[in-house]
């Protein structure tokens, strides 16, 4: 047992703080974590205070009697700024975006009370990829969480997606000779095609199915229903 904001949380050996909290039904904001895959630790949204230090809950092993603080004013503010940095570094035009209302980045922005960018937009030039017959890649929205890479490697056993470059030039890449998604064996049926927390990996057909007001995060905020995608169905929690 450890304490998360005063609530007792049970855990099994090897669990991270975030895994244990997730299983116990407590929400710690996150983007790059997914219970089905290895932790990454890159988005830093899941930062929590432990023993006077701030650590990422997805990589920090749970320990008995640990006192973990997540829902503090300071951490909420830090998370808001991290979200604002993610918005500023990409090109996010929510109103016209295919996943608007179903997007985890946007849902967390709402949740954390984001009203403006705060940082000057970097307006990067990023390569798009429409070479695949069924999937489209819009890197303007990529947050470099590597969930697609992990899903492709760990579940699909295909290793289609990877991150390349360095620093602000970090970008999504595809394991094919010419570097295009269309030349890989990626398919619509892959788990990786249905894992992106934002609108970077998109189906070419069937977008904008729901009217505003009926979308995943329109009614139930992300801290209540958790990180989900429309195509896996939201999970209503109390």
């Amino acid at each position: 047992m450890f304490q998360l904001d005063g609530n007792p949380i049970a855990f099994s050996k090897g669990d991270s703080i975030l895994q244990a909290a997730h299983k116990a039904g407590y929400y710690i904001p996150h983007l790059c974590f997914h219970p089905d895959f290895k932790a990454h630790g890159s988005c830093r949204l899941c930062v929590v205070d432990v023993k006077g230090k701030t650590v990422s809950a997805c990589t920090q092993p749970a320990e008995d009697k640990l006192e973990v603080y997540s829902d503090t004013a300071e951490l909420r503010q830090s998370r808001l700024r991290l979200i604002q940095l993610l918005f500023a570094e990409g090109n996010h035009y929510c109103p016209s975006c295919e996943v608007s209302g179903n997007c985890q980045l946007q849902a967390l922005a709402y949740d954390l009370g984001m009203t403006h960018y705060h940082y000057d937009p970097f307006s990067p030039l990023r390569q798009q990829d429409g070479s695949h017959s069924q999937l489209f890649i819009d890197q303007d929205r990529c947050i470099q969480c590597d969930l697609c890479g992990r899903a492709s490697q760990e579940q699909d056993l295909k290793s289609v997606y990877l991150l390349a470059g360095r620093g602000q030039d970090t970008h999504l890449a595809f394991r094919s000779h010419n570097g295009q998604l269309g030349s890989t064996n990626a398919s619509m049926d892959d788990r990786a095609a249905h894992i992106c927390p934002v609108g970077c990996i998109l189906p070419k057909a069937g977008n904008y199915p729901d009217i505003a007001g009926e979308r995943l995060y329109d009614k139930i905020p992300i801290h209540t229903q958790g990180n989900h995608r429309r195509d896996e169905g939201g999970q209503d929690e109390p």
């Binding site: 932790a39 630790g41 890159s42 988005c43 830093r44 949204l45 930062v47 701030t54 990422s56 990589t59 092993p61 830090s78 700024r81 991290l82 940095l85 993610l86 500023a88 570094e89 705060h118 940082y119 000057d120 970097f122 947050i143 470099q144 290793s159 990877l162 991150l163 390349a164 470059g165 360095r166 620093g167 602000q168 030039d169 970090t170 890449a173 595809f174 394991r175 094919s176 000779h177 570097g179």
Partner: protein
């Protein structure tokens, strides 16, 4: 590793055309088994140096040979600055643009060089500090350092290029690196006897070796000052037959060049220290991670390793492999270095697990700085008492400082731990000092009223470098240079550093140019620096905001 003399290690300006035979021969001369997947990064480094670039056919060939996907090779090339796909020019100039070189006039020199070399087959770029800030202005030409370029000799320099003089025929004086120690101390001047430390270690149990290091109070010289005995003990305790020793010779912190000295003048002490560490923890293999900027030291170090092999100290039980980096400061961070040694992009991995438990190839690994290994050899040879006879109680011993900037005598100074900043400034003959930066951009800024601060592990700025700035310098220029350095060197893994370093540069520019919004920009910068400190994944992001905090602190101090 059969023959240390290899074509790819010589300075040249004519690159052979691509030949699979030449490539294969070169790699085979280097490793018995060159096409293991974990060797791809080293292979790319060698191909780059040999052919001047890594073209598509080379990538295809290496991919076929190693079984590593070509997209992964491209991911490596796009991460490491010194790996390039584009066809090489005859001369590739990379000027160091650390603040020391900027103060020495690198920007003006670059303008002149660009003008004089207009139309020549050359490429002119800047790069982070190349470990020669005691020889400003310095640059790399096709990977080899040209030192002390000034307004007086820039004409001659450009003449060489205009004439198309082959790089290997340039007068040696252009490449002169002076490793003179201006102030000697125990580590740099004792009657070293090669192998005696090893003999001593062999007469002791593992535990006794570690106790001796612990009794000396040796702390890591790479910046963190972590107790070395503790690190070795932790690794020794791991129940695992395969363990590794890794020597961190990445020396990327701008303004730092003390390891350059040890790597070129006391190679044997470093190697002996690694062998001692291997005896202490039971390691089977060692690695030296040499920064790409120190390519010119590769051959001397490899020859040193060869000597120890011939003497039987390096053998089937424990041998050391030399690795080259390729222009990525982050690879000095120990977990990124371990990734890089395994042939991957240098992305720091989560801690825990720490390298002592799960390091290179997931095996327990001791990572220490070059100077730490040198000091370990000293302790085994001279005893722990001798080591701690100088220094302070919490920071025993002495260490080498890299001193550069506004002083009459830049260079290397070995001083007892705890020597006050003021004393060092007097020794190097610095006048009218505005401030000093200790430990590089990620270290600490000291103002005149703080010059009594002891340089030791109890105070920030522990990396072994001191950059001196006099009153003619602008703190804004210094700060801008530092935060641009971090933006350039962020590995891009985590949000606060990848995006935060860019946002910080933007905010500083706003601060500089929008006087009406100064207060707002100031509080935004402080908040961002704290955010990065609090939430970043590794030490780079955690310290990348410090120059801003120092700067604003000083501005306040002056107002």
């Amino acid at each position: 590793m059969v023959n240390p003399i290899n074509d790819w290690l010589t300075a040249k300006s004519d690159f052979p055309s691509w030949s699979t035979d030449l490539a294969e021969q070169t790699l085979l001369r280097h490793y018995h088994n060159p096409f293991l997947p974990e060797r791809v990064l080293q292979n790319l480094v060698i191909l780059q140096q040999l052919f001047g670039h890594i073209s598509l056919p080379m990538q295809e060939w290496l991919s076929r040979k190693s079984g590593v996907h070509i997209a992964d090779l491209r991911a490596l090339i796009s991460f490491y600055l010194f790996l390039e796909e584009a066809k090489p020019c005859r001369y590739h100039l990379r000027f160091a643009d650390n603040i020391i070189e900027q103060h020495a006039g690198v920007n003006e020199l670059i303008e002149q060089v660009k003008e004089k070399l207009c139309g020549c087959d050359c490429k002119i770029e800047t790069t982070s500090c190349i470990g020669l800030s005691d020889h400003p202005v310095s640059l790399l030409v096709n990977g080899f350092p040209v030192t002390r370029l000034t307004a007086d000799n820039v004409n001659d320099f450009c003449q060489l290029i205009r004439r198309g003089a082959p790089l290997q025929d340039w007068p040696r004086s252009w490449f002169a690196v002076n490793n003179l120690i201006r102030h000697k101390g125990p580590l740099t001047a004792y009657p070293y006897q090669a192998g005696q430390g090893i003999a001593q270690a062999k007469s002791l149990s593992r535990e006794q070796i570690i106790d001796l290091i612990g009794d000396a109070g040796l702390r890591g010289m790479g910046g963190a000052g972590f107790p070395t005995a503790f690190k070795w003990h932790w690794c020794e305790q791991q129940n695992e037959p395969i363990k590794y020793i890794a020597c961190n010779a990445d020396e990327g912190e701008p303004g730092t060049f003390k390891d350059r000295y040890y790597l070129s003048q006391q190679t044997d002490q470093m190697i002996e220290g690694m062998i001692i560490a291997a005896l202490a923890v039971g390691a089977v293999r060692g690695f030296i991670y040499l920064r790409g900027e120190y390519l010119y030291l590769y051959q001397p170090i490899e020859k040193g390793l060869q000597r120890w092999r011939e003497q039987g100290y390096l053998n089937a039980d424990f041998d050391i492999e030399l690795h080259l980096g390729a222009g990525a400061y982050i690879c000095g961070e120990e977990s990124a270095m371990i990734e890089s040694l395994a042939g991957k992009r240098g992305i720091p991995t989560p801690k825990p697990p720490f390298p002592g438990e799960k390091g290179l190839f997931d095996k327990p690994t001791v990572v220490n700085n070059v100077e730490t290994f040198v000091a370990a050899t000293y302790i085994l040879q001279q005893g722990s008492k001798a080591f701690k006879s100088v220094g302070t109680e919490k920071s025993p011993g002495s260490r080498l400082h890299s001193v550069s900037g506004d002083c009459q005598q830049p260079g290397l100074y070995e001083l007892p731990q705890g020597t006050p900043v003021r004393e060092l400034l007097a020794l190097c003959d610095a006048k009218d000092t505005l401030c000093v930066q200790a430990g590089g951009p990620s270290g600490a800024l000291y103002l005149p009223h703080q010059f009594d601060t002891p340089l030791d592990f109890e105070n920030p700025g522990r990396g072994g470098s001191v950059m001196v700035f006099n009153r003619s310098r602008s703190l804004m220029d210094i700060t801008r240079n530092f935060i641009q350095f971090f933006r350039h060197e962020s590995c891009g893994f985590c949000t606060p550093c990848r995006a935060g370093t860019v946002a910080m540069c933007n905010l500083l520019e706003r601060y500089e140019h929008q006087p009406t919004l100064k207060e707002q920009n100031k509080s935004d910068m402080i908040e961002l620096a704290q955010l990065m400190q609090q939430t970043s994944h590794c030490g780079l992001g955690k310290t990348a905001g410090l120059p801003i905090l120092n700067f604003l602190n000083l501005v306040e101090h002056h107002e």
